[in-house]
């Protein structure tokens, strides 16, 4: 068994080829194979959202995707969110609103919030809370996170 699988993808706009075991998740490939440790492992079972990435523009939990399933897909991780210089507006607003404490959940929240604002630039508070219900934070109590996202969208809260 355990013959390695060769996978061609695009990660953060760059073509990437990697070899993975059939039972490796995308999260493991990113963190252990490609040294992209921005995506976090919280629960490893789809509950916490710390591993959130975009797959062909769609928000997914990378702990629930096999590396082998990524053939011919476009992946965006937290490493691909900020411009070359400076911060993405969401990152800036998270700082301003103190929307993080330990920071483990933050990459997942930023990726998930970006996915929301890409399709719905001016969400209501309810839409933000609903969209982010799959991202857990043990530190902040969520309000600051929600406010940071709404502020980024130019929606007052």
């Amino acid at each position: 068994m355990s013959k390695k699988i060769q996978v061609s993808t695009t990660i953060n706009g760059e073509p990437v080829e990697f070899l993975c075991e059939s039972n490796q998740s995308l999260l493991e490939v990113l963190r252990d194979g490609l040294n992209m440790t921005g995506s976090k492992e919280g629960c490893n079972n789809g509950n916490c959202g710390a591993c959130s990435v975009l797959m062909d523009g769609r928000l997914v939990n990378s702990c629930l995707v096999l590396g082998a399933e990524c053939e011919d897909t476009k992946i965006t991780t937290i490493e691909g969110i900020a411009p070359k210089e400076g911060l993405h507006p969401l990152q800036q607003k998270f700082l301003e609103h103190a929307a993080l404490q330990c920071g483990i959940c933050t990459p997942g929240f930023i990726v998930a919030a970006k996915a929301l604002l890409d399709t719905n630039p001016h969400p209501t508070e309810h839409e933000v809370r609903y969209w982010l219900a799959g991202n857990l934070c043990r530190c902040t109590g969520y309000d600051k996170i929600i406010r940071a996202v709404l502020d980024t969208a130019g929606v007052s809260s």
Partner: protein, 289 residues
């Protein structure tokens, strides 16, 4: 995670051949939101994982001209509710598909997978039953169809035989003046497992309910179609409270729940009556639109 071989069949024939040859050792993978967790936690085992998303029949999503709907078994939830025409035609199904997990889960999780997982609390199942959905199944010996209410056989078990693959769900067109709804009770606002749930469809002629289907979830080993609850409504007025009460009582009588960390028997029996009544009210309101 345990080791397995990853296969990517592109035809139904290839997939069922492996499923037949390997039996329990081969598992179909669509969204992976259940299977990958189960394999990782050792709750299921597999020597072969068949990624079925490249099989065209499992990746079709078609709203036919006659109003009927075909959902390929590997189609993720977001793709269904993201289709404006389908969402407008089947709001009761959308109630379910927008409730399964959170946003990221809906990006992967398929309705076919939710059904095959056969959880007593599976959110898609009562509404599929209420909408008269039929499972289209391929096997080495040919094709067969099974109504969704007969597909789940026990918690975590479905009626697929060795070498069989769920290909798609066929949902008939909803007659004029029909409406559907699904509701569940959970202690959180989002992202939780139903304590009790109900899926309902009705067809109206003026104020008279001419047809109805009531299905309940999380209150028995499998989601249930409750014929008596449906029958209590048919022929009666939408404002006939004694008929509506009889419908809820019939659903409660059919419920055979257990007490677990999510709720007690008494609470679940009570809640399922409440869910049926509330879902019915929404279905009637939608039928009147």
């Amino acid at each position: 995670m345990q080791n397995f071989e990853y296969l990517k069949p592109t035809t139904i024939e290839q997939a069922v051949a492996v499923l037949y040859r390997e039996g329990e050792h081969a598992k179909a993978l669509s969204g992976g939101t259940d299977l990958i967790v189960q394999l990782r936690e050792g709750r299921r085992s597999a020597k072969y994982v068949l990624d079925v998303k490249k099989i065209p029949d499992l990746s079709q999503l078609t709203l036919n001209n006659d109003g009927s709907l075909i959902i390929g078994a590997a189609i993720p939830c977001h793709q269904i509710y993201g289709n404006a025409a389908i969402a407008a035609s089947f709001p009761g199904l959308m109630d379910s598909f927008t409730l399964i997990g959170g946003t990221a889960i809906q990006g992967r999780a398929s309705v076919g997978g939710n059904l095959c997982t056969a959880s007593p609390a599976g959110d898609s199942i009562p509404s599929l039953i209420a909408h008269r959905a039929v499972c289209v199944i391929a096997g080495t010996g040919g094709w067969r169809e099974v109504p969704v209410e007969a597909f789940c056989t026990a918690p975590g078990r479905n009626g697929l035989q060795r070498g069989e693959l769920l290909v798609s769900l066929r949902i008939p067109a909803q007659p004029a003046h029909s409406g559907g709804a699904y509701l569940r009770f959970i202690p959180r606002n989002e992202m939780d497992i139903a304590v009790a749930s109900a899926g309902v469809t009705v067809t109206l002629d003026g104020n008279t309910i001419t047809n109805a289907r009531v299905a309940i979830g999380a209150v028995a080993p499998t989601p249930l179609l409750v014929i008596e609850a449906s029958a209590a409504l048919i022929g009666n007025s939408t404002s006939d409270t004694s008929a509506i009460n009889a419908c809820a009582v019939a659903a409660q009588a059919a419920a055979k729940p257990i007490t677990d960390m999510r709720g007690t028997v008494e609470q679940r029996v009570h809640l399922v009556g409440v869910m049926v009544k509330r879902a019915l009210a929404i279905a009637i309101e939608r039928a009147n639109r």
